[in-house]
Each structure stands twice: as C-alpha cells, then as structure tokens.
Amino acid sequence: MGILVNFCAGVSEDVLPSNRVEAILANVPQNAASEKAISDTRSMLESARVRFFMLDSGGFQLLDRELKGGTIDCDPSRPLVYNPNEINLAPCHVAASGQKLRPDILTSLDLPVLKIEGQKQQQVEFMKKLGFNLVWMTETARLRRQLCPDTELFIPVQCYDLDQFGYLERHLSSLEYDGLSLPTRNLDPAGIALFLLKFYKMGIRKVHLLSVSNFSGIALAAYFARHLFDWFSIDATTWRKVSEYQDYLHPMDLKRISVSSNEVFDERRPLPCICPWCSRTTFTQIKHLPYTDKTEFLRCHNYFVIESLGRDLYARSAHFNSYIQHLRERNQRQARKVGKLIEALTIVHHRRDEPIEILSKVLGGGKL
C-alpha cells in the first residue's frame, strides 16, 4: 500500500489555498528564472509549511510557447529566460534550479507531445519530439547526480501508446531515476490504466500523473496508490483556474456550480460542503463577494474539496467492491464516464498479473 499525494500546482504565496498546503508543485521557468523568483518560491514553501515539494522542469511552459508562438531555445550557455516572447530552458537550468530549491522530486526536462487525434499524426508528433526527450532526460539525469543527488528524479513519458513507449523504455534502462511521470491530456482512464500497469510490470514504484483533478482521475489515482505503487502523486491547477471563472466545485463529484453575479440561488438550498470556508456563508453571499474576495474564497474551497475527495477515495479504495459501489453512487451525474473507469479498474484489479499484451487487448488498447 502506497501513498496518494495531491500536489497543488500554479500557486504563489499570495494565492495559497490554505495556511497549510501539504504538497506544492512549482516549475523551473516560473519559480526559478531569477533570484527574486527563487526567493519568492522559498518564501511560499515556508509559508505553506509543505511536506512535499516537487519541481517540474517546465515542459508545460515549452508546450505553451509552442502553441502560442514565441522563441523556444535550449541554449545551456545562456541563462534561463522566461518571458512572454522567449523561453530558454536546458537541462542544466533544471538541475541548477533543483540545486537551489532542493525539491523532494525533480522532473527531467521534456518536450510534451501535443494533444492531437489520428494515429499517423500522433506518430509524427512523437518522432518529432523523441530526440529532444531522449537527450534531455539523459542530460538531466546526469546533472541531477552531480548537482542535487538527494533529490529524486521523475522522468516524463511523452508518447501516445505502449508501442511508442517501447523506445523510451529501452533508453530508460540505462538511466538513473526514481519514478515516471505521465501526462494525461492524451489519455482515457483505460489508457492511463494501461500505462500504469506497464510501469508496474517494469518494476516502477513511484508514479506522478500530470494535470489530474477530475473525479475519474482522482478515483483512478486513489486505487493505484492503494494497490499497486509505493508513491502515487497527481497535480493540477484546476482549483485555481475554476475559481477565476467563478465556479464552485461540488464536494461530491467536483461538479462546477457557477457563482457569478448573475446567478440566482434558492436560499433554502444549503451549501453542500463542510469546509471551514463554507461554514460561514451561503451561495448568495458568495455570489455577492467582490471579485478578488470571491476568487480567494473559491480557491480555498475548491482546493479543500479536491484534497478531501482524494483522501476520502483513497480511504475507501481499500475494499474494491465497496469502492466501486461508492464511485457509482457518488457520481451519478457522469454515470457513463464512471462506468468506463469502473470497467478499467475491474480489469486492473482482477487481471493485473496477466501479460501486458493481453491487458492491452482487454483494455481496448487504452480506449474502452
């Protein structure tokens, strides 16, 4: 039985969602591009009294620049640059940032594959990024050993399917690393489950899922943390983003409830949450808060419910049958989605020791 850790991402000291945050994920471009940024990050970590600190390399920021335009460079002879027009990020910057900020976990530099459909297009995209990813993971692993040997290294898996993962797997065997991190933007629950089973069979015991804070993702993470891995972490900025859109997350299934100023609530409808923030207010009062105060309130509440959901599902995942039943009852709104998740988890639970080729087939190649 392992642990489930929910990293709070996209955070700064001013927008901490509580006076204590168990785990924070920062990233190199935003949190280590200058002495000031490093000092602010340290101050934030101290304020939040974090137990776990993870430093992401900044793959997402590279992807963001790729999509929005701007200069992308990876010149180790130049300093780390991160501004709206340019990003210069190389493995040496990542390892040096790890040395300065001393995270528990450092992610190796990666160039994310885009979210695209079509096997052919995905293959081309994978090939385009493969070279960068192989070189950068090798370099980051080497520099990590030199500069921050006490920090664990997680390597992001940038591919679309298990066939592509084979190329990475062969290379990984020659590297020193502690865990793998898996981007989920291109995968269904069955696809994630298939990758996780593959990692499990490789002997990997520590996994991080990137950008997960929906009901299905958390439910899946809770199961895998409980039954297959020693360490299972997830992260997301959802708690903050939905707050900025004035959305209140329902504690049962994370359904979004708009509390923007033009909504009208039935005052007889109580707040469905027991968090310390909700105990003092009503929907209408939340709605009437000035924007900044409302966003602050929602950040605190939304983070609380995402965290609580993870803890609750993890606790319930010990007994598989009652867990499955609970998932069904808890989220009837997304019955179809939850049904697919349950199907995938049932296969994992009962057939995990079968060969990966068979599991791949029964899991529909990652798409049920």
Binding site: E13, D14, S18, D40, F265, W277, P290, Y291
Partner: protein, 452 residues
C-alpha cells in the same frame, strides 16, 4: 409661523426635476421620460410607493414634538443643512438629520424650529432607515464618511430583511419600480440598498466586505479619522491573508473581529505616522481634515495571530501575486475590483504593482529620517520640517535636512500612490536610488558637521 409649501405634485417620482428626498434622482427615468412617448401610459398605481413623499414643506415645528430617529446612527459630522430634516408620518415627527440643531434649540429654550419636512402617508421604520442612510449620499445633509456610508448600508440589510414591508415598496418608486427584483431576499435587499443609496450594487458589496470583522469601535475609529476607500482596498489584502489563516484554523468569530480590527487600526495609524501628518485629530467641526497619527485612544498594535506565517509585513499593502498572470485567462481580480464607478471612490489600482519590497524601502526611509532627526535635532514628523525655531547657526543646515526629509516623505507618498503603469522593478529601482541618494547626502552632512 412659517409654513411654506413647495409647489409640488403628490407623486414626486413623476417630477424628474425634483429629487425625492432622500432617494436618488433616477437618470434612467429621466431618459425614459424624454425618449419614450409611451411612458405616460404607465399606470400610476404601479409607480407610487406606499412610502413615497406626498408633501414637502418648510415648517416651524415645536421642538418637543420631534423624535430622534436613531435606528440608523446619526452622522459623525453635523449636517451642512441649516435646518433639521424631519419626516412626518401618521406616527409622528422623526428627525433624520440635524438632530443637534434640535437639541441646541431645546437647550436654548427655543420652542419652535424651522425644519424641512417630508410627509409620508404611511409609517415604515424601514423606509425611515433607508432615508436616513441615504441622506448624505444624496447630498442633502452633506457628505458622509466612506465607512459611515458603508456602515449604514450594512445596518440597513438586517433592518430590511426583517421588515414586514415588502421590499418592492422600498424601491425608488420610479416607473421602473419592481425591476431588478429576483425573489431572493438577500439579492433584493442589496438591490434596494444600492438603489436607495444611489450606489452601484458592486459598491454595496464592497462596503459589506470592507466592514466585515470590523468592530464598532474600529468603525468609529476610522470614521473619526476620515479613512478613505483606498485605505480599505489596500488593507483588504492583509485582511484576506488573515482570514485565510483564521478560517483554516477555525478561529472564533469574536477573535477574528478583534484581530482584524486591531490589524487595520494599526495599519492606518502607521500609515499616518509614516506620512508624518501634522494634522490634528478629526473632530466633527474639522470635517475636511484628513488623518493624523499619535491620536488613537484604542490599542493599535496588531494582535499576534495564531498562524504567524503568510502575513508578511503588515505595511506591505496590496501587492499583487507575481504569478497571478500565469496560465490564467480570467480577468484580473483587482482590476475587476477597481471597476467600481462610484463617484466618491474612483482611484487607480495601487495594488496592481507587483512585488515592491515595501518594507525595505519604508524601513530605509524611516531609518534615514530618524538618523537625520537625531543628528540635527530636527523636529520629527509631528512638526513642520522647516520649523523656524531652529537656531540661526544651524538654520541653513536644518533647511537642507528639512528638504531631505521632505523628499523622503515624498518617496513614501510615491510608494503609496503607485501607478499601475510603472513596473515593479522600475519602481523599486527608482525608490532605492532615491533613498541611496538621500543616504549619501546624510553622510555628506555628517562629514560637514564633523569638520565644523
């Protein structure tokens, strides 16, 4: 006995050139009258509130028959009107503003006093509350302090919520009466308050937020010192941080109120000290003076809170999150907060500048100022920096020092009034450069003094 009747129709709301005391002239009604030829077809029974003013006059009233209406407290400053404002209802005469004039008359043994009298056909405490709360917004009795208007808005809320009168009857009474009601008392009450105080709904919401967790004592403190909206906007960030901690810790409401009140009073006092204001404490008769320091009767030390982190320097007002812009597409919170169009309140968003090392700058400024003051026995900020009491032999020097001090206070002021278009880095550099220049000057003066 003087008894002047103003020429006026019974339904004052149909008279766009007259302002129904004390509600607000409704420009929408005006526009509609002008633009819409069908406007006159509106049925009168839908437009006249039960509590509309049916008559307005100036009358000599027996002072003993006028009752002090204090469900809403009297304004701190005396009315600027030369007559008390009285409402006549079937239950009697109620003074809404200028009760001090009535008391004066009583004390002087005067039997009657000329008053402005509005007459209502029906009595409603809630309506009288609304009128009294709005009386300074509608400028009939002068201008209320920011927090006074805010407090009145807050106090109106429970009064209106518990009133037996229909909220629609407390509407402004214009032809669009009934618009904006959504059958949710919490929403409708805010709607009525906004309408009747002549404020945007957002302004009312901000009022309520700024007052949250302020004790009556603190409210009185701020009213007496004329604290402006800008102060509360800046202090709101500190308050948010405190509330985050207290809420997470489950701190009792009374403790939160005590600590938030102390924090804000402390911030205000220190801000005033930093500015070195030489102005005297506010009294009701010095209505246009702004704040001062060293005058509080209340404890102003911020009470230590339980989780002592995440609060930072209490002086470091609303600096914005340096990473707030990352990955976000929603509008900026502080920008939204500043979108208030209330005439009394509009000001640039000082909070939008990022990460200025305020404490370093302020401490440096204070240190230099103290150093100077000590070296040259220059009167401190309570007195004029160019005090003529200094001896001739040091007069020039003192003037020089005075100028330096002046610059230092300007630096502090500049910090206070940061414009959003100056980048944080630029501003910080600018201020540090200024301070460093002043420090050099101090050294030169010290060398000069030693040589002498």
């Amino acid at each position: 006995m003087e008894h002047l009747h103003l020429p006026q129709e019974v339904d004052v709301h149909r008279q766009p050139h007259l302002q129904d005391a004390p509600s607000v002239l409704n420009h929408e009604d005006l526009e509609e009258d002008f633009e819409s030829p069908s406007a006159s077809s509106t049925e009168p029974e839908q437009t006249v509130s039960r509590f509309a003013t049916i008559d307005r006059s100036i009358e000599d009233l027996p002072v003993t028959s006028i009752r002090h209406f204090n469900l809403i407290p009297d304004f701190f400053h005396p009315t600027s009107n030369d007559k008390p404002i009285v409402v006549r209802t079937p239950e009697g005469l109620f003074c809404l503003d200028g009760y001090d004039l009535i008391e004066e008359a009583r004390n002087a043994g005067v039997e009657t006093l000329s008053c402005e009298v509005d007459t209502m056909a029906e009595h409603s405490d809630a309506e009288l509350c609304v009128r009294k709360a709005a009386i300074r917004s509608a400028t009939r009795g002068g201008k209320g302090e920011y927090l006074e208007n805010a407090r009145n808005a807050r106090d109106l809320k429970p009064i209106l919520l518990s009133s037996n009168d229909s909220l629609r009857d407390l509407d402004h009474g214009g032809r669009r009466r009934g618009e904006g009601f959504v059958a949710n008392p919490e929403d409708d009450v805010r709607h009525v308050i906004a309408l009747r105080l002549g404020k945007e709904k957002d302004t009312v919401n901000t009022y309520l937020r700024h007052l949250e967790y302020l004790s009556d004592e603190a409210i009185q403190f701020f009213i007496a010192r004329g604290a402006k909206k800008q102060f509360f906007e800046k202090a709101q960030k500190q308050k948010r941080l405190l509330l985050r901690t207290y809420t997470a810790d489950g701190t009792p409401e009374e403790d939160i109120m005590q600590n938030v009140s102390s924090l804000l009073m402390g911030l205000f006092t220190r801000q005033a000290e930093r500015r070195g204001s030489s102005r005297r404490p506010r009294t009701a008769s010095t209505s246009n003076q702004t704040l001062t320091f060293n005058v509080t009767d209340h404890p102003v030390e911020p009470i230590e809170h339980q989780g002592d982190e995440a609060h930072g320097d209490a002086e470091g007002m609303e600096a914005q999150n340096p990473h707030e812009d990352f990955e976000r597409t929603a509008p900026n919170g502080d920008d939204m907060e500043e979108c208030l169009t209330d005439e009394e309140d509009a000001d640039p968003d000082t909070g939008s500048v990022q990460t200025v090392s305020s404490s370093i700058i302020e401490e440096a400024a204070e240190n230099v100022a103290e150093q100077l003051a000590e070296t040259y026995s220059v009167p401190k900020s309570t007195e004029s920096v160019s005090s003529p009491t200094l001896k001739n032999s040091r007069h020039t020097e003192a003037e020089f020092v005075g100028e330096i001090l002046q610059v230092l206070y300007e630096i502090a002021d500049r910090y206070e009034n940061l414009m959003p278009d100056i980048s944080a880095r630029e501003l910080e550099g600018m201020l540090l450069e200024s301070i460093s220049m002043q420090q050099e000057l101090v050294q030169h003066i010290q060398i000069f003094r030693k040589k002498k």
